[in-house]
Subunit: 340 residues, 2 copies
């Protein structure tokens, strides 16, 4: 029998939890023959939504749930020891499962990943690396960091580029990923002290395919494979993209629905709008990985439905299968030794 | 005879300069009976595009032009002394004209405003304050700072809010402008040290209608009248909005044009798309004002056509008419005295 990839699933995190998470886990089991899922959460609720029992699905009952609107994630992680997220994270740390997937609060998952799954010693700060769909056919862009660490230091930005580079090569199969540094202009000397220093670090690292600075106006243009950023600027850029897309498409929908002519036009353009929705709210991307911790930790969008969540589980499997964590640890340990 | 507002116009700055700038200036003269325009630039080229001579249009010949893709704006301002932008800025400083309008390179205009029109002594750093159209009917949002000063310090962010508040009240006639602080979350304690300190400064100032933190996903939602930001984050957020809107609408257009059904749908939705284009690329907003310098300095978009540029001249007139510069100077001088 071939190796099984054991994915730990926080069944209680997400706007549509546990129903969609449980269904998504079942879909994943059917889609990926080499995946085994352990569902962490309230057993009775999980059982209610599970289409059938399955030899590759286990349930670990947890009484507590960390809510989506948690104010102080680190505190919640420390206090809510019986929560599905904390119990699942500890199971990852103990090696009982190989990876963790959650659609719960982003801050809580980052805290759980950093404090419980634990940061790799070779990594200064873990970084969240969502895959952003772009308007360029079949091109996506990894943003790293999207907000796991809000401190803007040159060494963090450089490290974020390294983490994303290894992830892109290992998990996504991108041969020589093009890297841009998020900045307020494209000229070499743009930005503040930290950006200028990060630029130099990236430029001097001949193992990286560094193209120079990139502006946030190119976030969904598909010009590069990786946008390296401090978590503060990355978060601002990503949320601006998401909010603008949502607001513009909402406006378009309102206008279309307001007249008969509009409704007719909308019908004719249905397939067009569906294509654009996939850019704005992609199901198949499989969530964002938290890089720099001891196992793959995947954040599925809070609004995930079963299909989206299934792909997040597939993403976790791919990260385990390709051993991205060890590869990061080896590369960043070597880097640390040369710079110390 | 009533007072004339003397607007200095850099006729050579902009992607469509001088043709559209000169035509726009002529349109402004016809629209605003109390405006007098001085066009700075190459006299022969200006005359070629001017529909007719007019008693309220003067020309000041300047040999040189600062290009749109200028790498080092501050250096250009110092060296290109015969350029239209430098000569126009000096005319503002000398009081020969009351305000300056340019569609030239943003960095060059900020440098000219700061170094030649000169910063007000009461203001730490000038800030660029574009008016962002939103998806909410008749609601716009001022972003301050959009990138004049890329250093993120709490006192700068607080000052940016003050500048925008006075501008909103004085020039835009907004009674009690709602202010949000751009941040990576809506909770009070979000962000780094500077954001937390800026939050406290804003909260303690009872003259401001401060609503708390706002995320970049709300950039075009119209929730607040003013988004206060450091210039770095403001620039990142604004360009992400602009790029996303442009890329998504471009994709929509490509898809529509690719099939007959799409083209028919597109025709039926023409008025809808026109409405959305106005949100994305507004003609009537009148450009962005540089706040904190000794006279109104207006940046019209680089892609300005004559109509857009006419509104930028109207914006400059309104800023002079309502004496926003003196009001800023009085308020920030008082603030400086209480904090020193």
């Amino acid at each position: 029998m071939s190796k099984l990839f054991k994915i730990g699933v926080d069944a209680m995190g997400g706007d549509n939890a546990p129903a969609e998470m449980v269904k998504g886990a079942y879909m994943a089991i059917e889609k990926y023959a080499d995946v085994e899922v352990t569902l962490f959460g309230r057993e009775d609720e999980i059982k209610k939504h599970l289409p059938a029992t399955h030899e590759r699905i286990q349930i670990v009952h947890c009484d507590d749930v960390i809510p989506m609107d948690i104010g102080d994630p680190a505190m919640a992680i420390r206090r809510q020891k019986e929560s599905s997220l904390v119990v699942a994270s500890k199971a990852v740390k103990k090696g009982e499962v190989d990876a963790l997937v959650s659609a719960g609060a982003t801050g809580a998952l980052i805290a759980a990943g950093t404090l419980l799954v634990k940061r790799l010693k070779s990594v200064e700060r873990p970084a969240l690396a969502p895959i952003i769909p772009t308007v360029k056919k079949d091109a996506t862009t990894i943003l790293c960091d999207a907000g796991a660490n809000s401190e803007a230091k040159a060494s963090f930005i450089y490290q974020n580029a390294k983490l994303a580079d290894i992830y892109a090569k290992t998990v996504l199969g991108i041969q020589n990923p093009k890297i841009g540094l998020l900045n307020i202009g494209t000229e070499d000397a743009k930005g503040g002290v930290e950006q200028v220093e990060a630029f130099a670090l990236l430029k001097n690292d001949t193992s990286l395919n560094f193209l120079g600075n990139i502006e946030s106006k190119s976030m969904i243009s598909g010009e590069v494979d990786i946008i390296a950023a401090d978590g503060y600027a990355g978060n601002i850029a990503l949320k601006a993209v998401e909010g603008t897309a949502k607001d513009l498409l909402g406006l378009l929908k309102d206008e279309i629905m307001s007249t008969t002519k509009g409704k007719m036009g909308g019908l004719l353009l249905k397939s067009t709008f569906d294509g654009i929705k996939e850019v704005v709210n992609p199901k198949t991307v499989g969530g964002a990985i938290l890089l720099g911790v001891g196992a793959p930790v995947i954040k599925s969008p809070g609004s995930s439905d079963a299909e989206t969540f299934m792909y997040a589980i597939g993403h976790a499997k791919k990260a385990v299968e390709n051993d991205v964590v060890s590869k990061i640890d080896v590369a960043l340990t070597a880097l640390k030794e040369t710079t110390e």
